[in-house]
């Protein structure tokens, strides 16, 4: 029995992603370095065979997952679970993910709107968790994202979130918005008259 095959059987049987540390604990008769090499070999071989399933690195561990491009076939047999996230859920989730640890008041200041209900539903979905309380007057709760967040969004770790710098450059040339505004050049918005109205009222 080869080590990659042993690792494959363990990861396949587990209900959630298995980390290298966990593997090393379980396979104490093997060297950590050998396990690491075998894991890389295993991931590579699944990548190379171009199947419907691959070994994905998520939430600090490894898990067999279907490749996204096959979802149109998989859903014919399996019920989809993840409901579509509302814009406010995603916004709140993004703020918590990038700014954690963060208080509810800070999230609300950034979004400009009450976020109690959204936060509660994210807590219930286990995407967000309570980290503790902040050492400031009133000791408000502080929030962060959970392991489930990484699992659901297929992220290796928090560092694999798109960096805010990338987003910043995106904000300079807002792609989404430009697309919506096409055809460009047609002035459906403010006219000169409107801008001058500043001092009229």
């Amino acid at each position: 029995m080869s080590l990659p095959a042993i690792i494959e059987s363990i990861i396949f049987a587990a209900e959630s992603a298995v980390s290298l540390d966990r593997l090393c604990d379980m396979l104490s008769e093997f060297e950590r370095d050998d396990i690491r090499v075998a894991l890389a070999e295993l991931a590579g071989s699944h990548e190379g065979r171009n199947g419907g399933v691959h070994l994905a690195e998520v939430a600090g561990g490894w898990q067999f997952r279907t490749r996204p491009e096959f979802h149109q076939y998989v859903v014919r047999h399996v019920k989809t679970k993840a409901s579509r996230f509302s814009q406010s859920s995603l916004e709140t989730l993004a703020i918590v993910a990038y700014r954690q640890p963060i208080t509810r008041a800070e999230v609300e200041h950034l979004r400009g709107v009450d976020c109690g209900g959204v936060l509660k539903s994210l807590l219930e979905k286990r995407l967000v968790r309570i980290l503790g309380k902040k050492d400031i007057p009133g000791r408000p709760l502080i929030y962060g994202t959970s392991k489930e967040f990484l699992e659901v969004f297929g992220l290796k770790d928090l560092k694999s979130l798109p960096t805010l710098r990338e987003i910043q450059s995106l904000a300079d040339v807002p792609q989404f918005e430009r697309q919506e505004e096409l055809p460009l050049g047609q002035d459906e918005g403010v006219s000169e008259e409107d801008s001058l109205s500043l001092f009229e009222e």
């Binding site: 396949f12 049987a13 994905a56 898990q63 997952r65 279907t66 490749r67 996204p68 979802h71 998989v74 399996v78 989809t80 679970k81 993840a82 996230f85 814009q87 406010s88 995603l90 916004e91 709140t92 989730l93 993004a94 703020i95 993910a97 990038y98 200041h109 950034l110 979004r111 400009g112 709107v113 009450d114 807590l123 219930e124 286990r126 968790r129 309570i130 699992e151 659901v152 969004f153 297929g154 798109p162 805010l164 987003i167 910043q168 995106l170 904000a171 807002p174 989404f176 918005e177 919506e180 505004e181 002035d187 918005g189 403010v190 006219s191 409107d194 801008s195 109205s197 500043l198 009222e201």
Partner: protein
């Protein structure tokens, strides 16, 4: 005249149209489109093709207020957050009407009444887009799937030794659900009062004694030295003494008062309560 005005002219004004008047249902309003005042403002900025760094407060404010007015006329509940922003906009607008010594164009600087709003809008836009990026990923259970069949070998084996997996929210929520199930009078002192309760104080002392071997009275009241705090802490200490959970020492008539745990770890045997 811009295209919007043309549209308006073409449609004409209907002064007495009512909400349910289907005859004039020329438009569909997506009122759920805006996730808050900042979202609405971003939309207006985009709609008017304004530079976010140099927005025309007059235009934005007018359109923003129209929107709020519309919501009210449709008998929709206008969330307080929207009204707060309306007030902010009006305030900025009025400050912009004040004469400025050296007007500098299209520069957001310290003295610009819009500066704070623009900073917030830009920051909000950043997270709004981050949210879209996250949401466009291949999601587990939507585009990506894991094995759902249960490994027969593992389904039988239950593990009692492994690490625990439970979130703080689940713990609190379990307590909340329990409270909903049983009559309120059982919990007279659980619905926490605004103030620092004796139970709070007991919890605090117990957790301090988990970290250190001994605690001084002064440590307990140092942060918020109020009359009430001292009394509550004192009563908590008396309660802990009564329960034989702590022992109290004083190293002289005016010396510091020290507390140590009466029981070490899981030891259950009784120790005499000492007050020297």
């Amino acid at each position: 005249m811009n295209s919007v005005s043309e549209t308006a002219t073409r449609q004409g004004r209907v002064e007495t149209a009512t909400l349910l008047d289907g005859m004039h249902a020329g438009y569909n309003v997506h009122l759920d489109k805006f996730d808050g005042p900042l979202d609405l403002l971003l939309h207006l900025i985009r709609k008017n093709e304004l530079d976010i760094r140099d927005i025309s407060i007059a235009v934005i404010t007018r359109q923003y207020l129209d929107y709020i007015k519309l919501m009210k006329e449709l008998n929709l509940e206008v969330a307080g957050d929207f009204l707060v922003m309306a007030a902010t906009l009006l305030q900025i607008k009025s400050r912009m009407l004040l004469p400025v010594e050296e007007p500098e164009e299209s520069e957001v600087e310290e003295g610009d009444p819009r500066a704070e709003l623009i900073r917030r809008l830009m920051e909000y836009q950043q997270y709004k887009e981050a949210g879209m990026l996250i949401g466009s990923r291949a999601l587990l259970g939507r585009e990506v799937f894991v094995r759902t069949s249960v490994e027969p070998l593992l389904s039988e084996a239950r593990n009692e030794e492994g690490p625990l997996e439970v979130s703080l929210f689940e713990l609190v929520d379990a307590f909340r659900v329990l409270l909903e199930r049983i009559p309120a009078e059982h919990f007279h002192d659980v619905a926490a009062a605004e103030t620092f309760s004796i139970a709070d104080s007991i919890n605090e002392i117990l957790s301090l004694l988990q970290e250190r071997d001994a605690v001084q009275f002064d440590d307990l009241v140092r942060d918020e030295f109020t009359r009430e705090r001292v009394i509550v802490t004192f009563l908590a200490l008396l309660e802990l003494c009564r329960l034989k959970l702590i022992r109290i020492f004083q190293n002289g008539p005016q010396g510091n008062i020290w507390f140590v745990p009466a029981v070490v770890q899981d030891a259950v045997e009784e120790r005499p309560l000492l007050v020297q």
